[in-house]
């Protein structure tokens, strides 16, 4: 029929007839049977009919395969297979898809409500939507998916609006997570896989985005409450859920930040209160309170760092929140001490002999590690460095450092965090001390080789490098003759070792062991060089006036008052004062107290150190001025012309690693640099600066 020459070629008729036979079958058999059925039964019938139809298409198109190969190819008509499927689509699908869609969606809703449904049936029905597209997803997406998503949104919107009123935040989240899981499950069982992201996004939007604030702010169970009661599991769930919606973590991290800030501020307040209560009683206890404060801050940090790592899966947003929260209260300071000072004191207490904390080596290492971590939050790093150096100097010079390894270890940690410049001086100090010990050995050798040089007193000299150590006032104390001899001997010895080095003696840091021959018994007194010099004056006179002592020692009033107080008004009264009052006045007279005794054979007479806090802060201030100057000049040198705001910003950025300069300080320095002709204002725009080379 098909191979004859026209007009006996019946291909066209055959092709038409092929289509008609489908149409006839569908209209007479398929549609009526479908029309009389409804809901699930209709779906079953549809699936059956579709299967039949596919078989029919397969066989018929095979019978007329010849058409496919020549007639259709030549005329570029739709192939037989497609014609067969198109018939079904045009006649059955077009008529029924609305009904089918509604039936499917109602089944899905039933399942959501917990009923058992025939998942295989749904799978088959939905396959029809896919197959009918013949490779295109349009039919599935437009005729089914869109409506299904809309229904889903409506369904969960209804649900969520109930839950948000009735449920606590953890319960709500449990439900939401469960729903998401089930929807995912649904996709894998009968929906097309391309629906998964759309469906989940839909559910997340209705359940989470819409109610995010309401949910997080729930008064007794929201994010605040979860943090307050340490509901780690719920918090993890919260993170999992909210990480899925766009910008969903922002409010969570901001609540986290608020919470940590509040906890930290409470610690500051607590320490503040404790300090003001205790202040009346005793000074030492204040120190202890501050020690406790740092401990508590470390604990707080440990706790919330663990939250960030575990609950919040190390998310950068939460690291940032933690950092910002700590920066807020770590820079507040407690009872007049800046946190930089507190941290330095805390380190000192751990590192010195007989500090208040008794820790194992590992615990010390761990604590130091944490202190250094906290330092990252403190903006006045230079202030910390200065206080730390002061304390380190005391530890090293008065042999109070408990362990050399720990000293070096914390310096390594600080170096890692703040850079080599930060620790170079401190490292120099530690090295100086090692060198000083070697030096002492060779000094002793020198003395044994030169017996006539021996001053008759055991002398230990610690030679330090000026730049590394904090600056100390060196007064020309009038040393007792015995000690002058010592100084000369050492100077001679030092000359043999090095040339071109200048020795400056800092007597205020020296200690002496004196033998005191008191009437009851002989005692060994451990005193500072100042105290010793004062006491030795009484070898030649029995009674001295304040001014005589001051002239003979060549010291300032402050120092004389301090040391005389330690010798005549404090615990050990080596000197008798006239009149016998509790404070020193310039009209007092002093006498050697030969009756003095103590149950110990050796006693240490402390000389309270001058409060160095003010000086440290002043020093740091001065250093900052130089640092700001240098930074401004550096910036202007490279930029030549720069607006005021930008200059300030760049300056803050450059210096931020060490400290946070305030704008006023920078402005003052700019003014100063203008006066010194480093900069000038632009003639027309006073907010613009020019660098003057």
């Amino acid at each position: 029929m098909c191979t004859q020459k026209p007009p006996h070629d019946y291909s066209q008729q055959l092709y038409d007839k092929y289509r008609e036979s489908f149409e006839e079958y569908i209209t007479s058999m398929v549609l009526p049977s479908l029309r009389e059925k409804h809901d699930e039964f209709m779906l079953r019938e549809l699936v059956k009919r579709w299967a039949n139809h596919k078989v029919m298409v397969r066989w018929l198109s095979r019978f007329f395969h010849y058409l496919d190969r020549y007639f259709i190819a030549r005329r570029s008509l739709p192939p037989l297979n497609e014609v067969g499927l198109t018939c079904f689509r045009d006649l059955v699908y077009q008529e029924l898809n609305g009904k089918v869609r509604d039936a499917v969606i109602s089944l899905i809703d039933q399942e959501r409500e917990g009923e058992q449904i025939d998942r295989a049936l749904l799978k088959n029905v939905l396959d029809i939507f896919v197959e009918i597209g013949m490779g295109q997803m349009d039919y599935y997406e437009n005729d089914f998916e869109a409506a299904m998503l809309k229904d889903t949104a409506a369904y969960y919107s209804r649900k969520a609006s109930n839950w948000i009123l009735e449920d606590s935040c953890p319960d709500y989240m449990l439900k939401a997570e469960e729903c998401l899981k089930r929807e995912k499950d649904r996709v894998s069982h009968y929906l097309h896989s391309s629906s998964e992201p759309k469906l989940l996004e839909n559910v997340q939007h209705e359940e989470l985005s819409v109610y995010a604030n309401q949910l997080l702010e729930k008064e007794h169970s929201g994010c605040h409450a979860l943090l307050r009661y340490d509901k780690v599991e719920d918090l993890s769930r919260m993170f999992r859920l909210f990480s899925k919606i766009p910008r969903g973590l922002d409010p969570v991290s901001s609540i986290f930040k608020q919470h940590v800030t509040a906890e930290g501020t409470a610690l500051v307040k607590q320490a503040e209160d404790a300090a003001s209560n205790k202040k009346a009683d005793k000074k030492d206890i204040v120190g202890l309170q501050e020690q406790v404060f740092v401990r508590k801050v470390i604990e707080l940090h440990d706790k919330y760092l663990a939250y960030v790592n575990d609950c919040f899966q190390n998310h950068t947003l939460f690291h940032k929140a933690l950092k910002e929260a700590f920066e807020v209260f770590c820079n507040k300071g407690v009872a007049g001490s800046s946190s930089a000072e507190l941290l330095a004191t805390f380190c000192d207490n751990i590192l010195k002999k007989g500090g208040s904390e008794k820790l194992s080596d590992e615990a010390i290492e761990e604590t130091l590690e944490k202190v250094v971590k906290l330092l990252a939050y403190i903006s006045d790093k230079d202030l910390f460095a200065e206080f730390y150096r002061k304390k380190l100097a005391r530890r090293l010079l008065f042999d109070k450092s408990a362990n050399d390894d720990h000293e070096r270890s914390i310096l390594t940690k600080l170096k890692q965090q703040c850079g080599g410049q930060f620790t170079s001086k401190m490292e120099g100090m530690v090295t100086d001390l090692t060198l000083a010990r070697e030096n002492q050995t060779s000094f002793e050798e020198y003395l044994s080789n030169n017996p006539n040089a021996n001053p008759g007193i055991d002398l230990t000299v610690t030679v330090l490098t000026t730049g590394f150590w904090p600056s100390y006032k060196s007064f020309d104390l009038n040393l007792p003759a015995e000690m002058v001899k010592c100084v000369e001997v050492f100077r001679e010895f030092y000359q043999t070792k090095t040339k071109h080095r200048k020795l400056t003696w800092i007597y205020s840091l020296g200690t002496c062991n004196l033998i005191g021959k008191f009437e009851p018994k002989t005692l060994e007194l451990i005193v500072t060089t100042y105290q010793a010099s004062a006491l030795l004056l009484f070898n030649s006179s029995d009674r001295l006036s304040y001014s005589e002592i001051m002239i003979q020692l060549n010291l300032t009033d402050d120092d004389v008052v301090r040391l005389l107080h330690s010798l005549s008004c404090a615990k050990y009264r080596i000197l008798n004062k006239e009149p016998n009052t509790k404070s020193i006045s310039p009209t007092d007279y002093f006498e050697f107290n030969s009756k003095f005794t103590d149950k110990m054979r050796r006693i240490k007479i402390p000389l309270p150190p001058v409060d160095e806090k003010k000086k440290v802060i002043e020093d740091v201030d001065k250093d900052r001025r130089y640092a700001i100057d240098a930074s401004i000049v550096r910036i202007m040198k490279s930029r030549k012309v720069l607006g005021h705001q930008q200059l300030v910003m760049e300056c803050v950025e450059q210096l931020g690693r060490m400290f946070k300069p305030d704008f006023k300080a920078i402005k003052k320095r700019i003014e100063d640099l203008i006066t010194r002709d480093y900069l000038e204002r632009d003639k027309d725009n006073p907010n613009l600066f020019r660098y003057l080379a």
Partner: protein, 209 residues
């Protein structure tokens, strides 16, 4: 005319000389544009230093510098032209310098301000009181010049002050102080009062010539 030779020098000649140096025609008329900005700045600075030296030698014995300056103000009719006024304002600073120092004392600065800014700065009284009370260091030339700019752009209610601007710290502090004063005392009369005092100053200013 060479100043060194004249035995009698009055404030008018010094001012003339000062203006010449400032406008750059004291030494050479037109230098070409290529001429280094810094170079010219330096030579004019040197010339000013010389002039100052001279002033100290000659003026020293006479009546107070401020009487002289007041005389100059009354004679000059530069009050209309701002650039001329601004030059005169700088001249005030120049005349207040002592012993070759770059900065002038607070007391001289305040007297000079009261003289030169009368009727031109609505917050003059408050400003001078504030400076006398709070400024311990000398007044630098930059601060001096910025006060003129400040007096021109700021209204009596401090409107026109840009907190982001590169004002000298002294001016920032003054603004802060004024806010504090007006904040603690919400009485709107405060501003009316200063308005009144200023209008009195205006009257005074009118009476001078």
């Amino acid at each position: 005319m060479d100043l060194r030779d004249s035995s009698r020098v009055d404030i008018f000649e010094i001012y003339q000389r000062y203006c010449d140096i400032r406008s750059g025609n004291a030494y050479e008329g037109e230098r070409n544009e290529q001429d280094d900005h810094a170079q010219r700045g330096k030579s004019s600075r040197d010339a000013l230093a010389q002039l100052l030296n001279f002033v100290e030698l000659r003026m020293h014995m006479r009546s107070s510098i401020f009487d002289e300056l007041a005389k100059l103000i009354s004679k000059l009719e530069m009050m209309v032209n701002f650039s001329e006024f601004s030059r005169f304002y700088d001249f005030m600073f120049f005349m207040c310098r002592e012993n070759g120092q770059k900065n002038i004392t607070v007391s001289k600065a305040v007297t000079a301000w009261r003289l030169v800014l009368a009727g031109r700065f609505r917050l003059l009284n408050q400003w001078c009181d504030f400076v006398e009370e709070n400024q311990r260091h000398n007044i630098s030339e930059d601060t001096w010049q910025q006060v003129l700019a400040f007096s021109r752009c700021v209204h009596e209610n401090l409107e026109g002050y840009d907190p982001e601007g590169a004002w000298p710290v002294l001016i920032d502090d003054f603004v802060e102080h004024m806010y504090r004063v007006s904040g603690s005392n919400k009485d709107p009369n405060l501003f009316c009062n200063c308005g009144d005092s200023e209008s009195q100053l205006f009257v005074f200013e009118d009476a001078v010539p």
